[in-house]
């Protein structure tokens, strides 16, 4: 499944809607679907908010492959070099009062996916994420 969107936050819903349809067609569980929805929200938000230094429209490509082994999601954008996985993990032991507000999104992505990778390919950022399909991920 491939979908191409513009760098606007409201496009995140379009990616998730397309993925949800894909998930239903392939009988993926709600548990897995929600994790991928979360990943799209976090990573697309990051790209749209931080990757561009101009006011022009940019296109972001989302590719999803499903095999017996698992799900592979690839997100490609043409923004400035930006590796979301270089963000340090937040200190999850801090109390409500001591917690800073940022850093959570990528931490969640790393933890709900099995493998995450970033590559700078020419003028593009490519993020590849993998999730193995367990029997509980099939509806």
């Amino acid at each position: 499944m491939e979908v191409r969107v513009s760098n606007r936050l409201d496009e995140i819903d379009r990616v998730n809607a397309a993925f949800n349809e894909f998930a239903e067609r392939h009988a993926l569980s709600s548990k897995l679907r929600r994790k991928i929805n979360l990943v799209f929200d976090e990573l697309l938000n990051n790209i749209i908010t931080y990757a561009y230094e101009d006011e022009h429209e940019h296109l972001i490509d989302v590719d999803i492959r499903l095999s017996r082994a698992g799900l592979t999601v690839t997100i490609t954008d043409d923004g400035r070099p930006f590796n979301p996985f270089e963000t340090p993990a937040p200190d999850t032991a801090l109390s409500v009062e001591d917690r800073p507000m940022g850093g959570l999104g990528v931490h969640l992505v790393r933890n709900v996916m099995d493998r995450v990778a970033y590559e700078r390919d020419g003028e593009k950022n490519m993020v590849r994420l993998e999730k193995e399909i367990e029997s509980s991920h099939r509806a």
Partner: protein, 110 residues
């Protein structure tokens, strides 16, 4: 997302419907702020009709918890689905926020 609020024995019960994510969190934040500015000190957010929560959503919950505790109040959370529970656990929010399995349990002793 849809936000409905009701009061049960001095607790403001907020029932969210939809996703608490990048695009919906600021509306949710605004509703919660209005409640607290209007005097609510006990707030319960019921997630039974919430599909997923992203870090944007967690941030507004944290801000709400801080705002309430600063005013001598308290925030409780209930009815998280399996994936949202996992997100709370990964982020450590299940230890810093008061999370209950059901609205009934959350209201007890609130």
């Amino acid at each position: 997302m849809n936000i409905s609020t009701t009061t049960i024995e001095s607790v403001s019960v907020v029932r969210l419907e939809g996703n608490l994510d990048t695009n919906t969190s600021s509306d949710a934040q605004e509703s919660l702020n209005q409640l607290i500015d209007g005097g609510a000190s006990k707030v319960l957010v019921n997630f039974a009709a919430v599909d997923f929560v992203s870090s944007a959503g967690l941030r507004i919950l944290l801000a709400t918890a801080k705002k309430l505790s600063g005013a001598g109040g308290n925030l409780r959370i209930s009815n998280l689905n399996e994936t949202v529970t996992e997100v709370f656990e990964i982020s450590g929010f299940s230890t810093i926020l008061d999370v209950f399995a059901s609205e009934e349990e959350a209201l007890q002793g609130f």
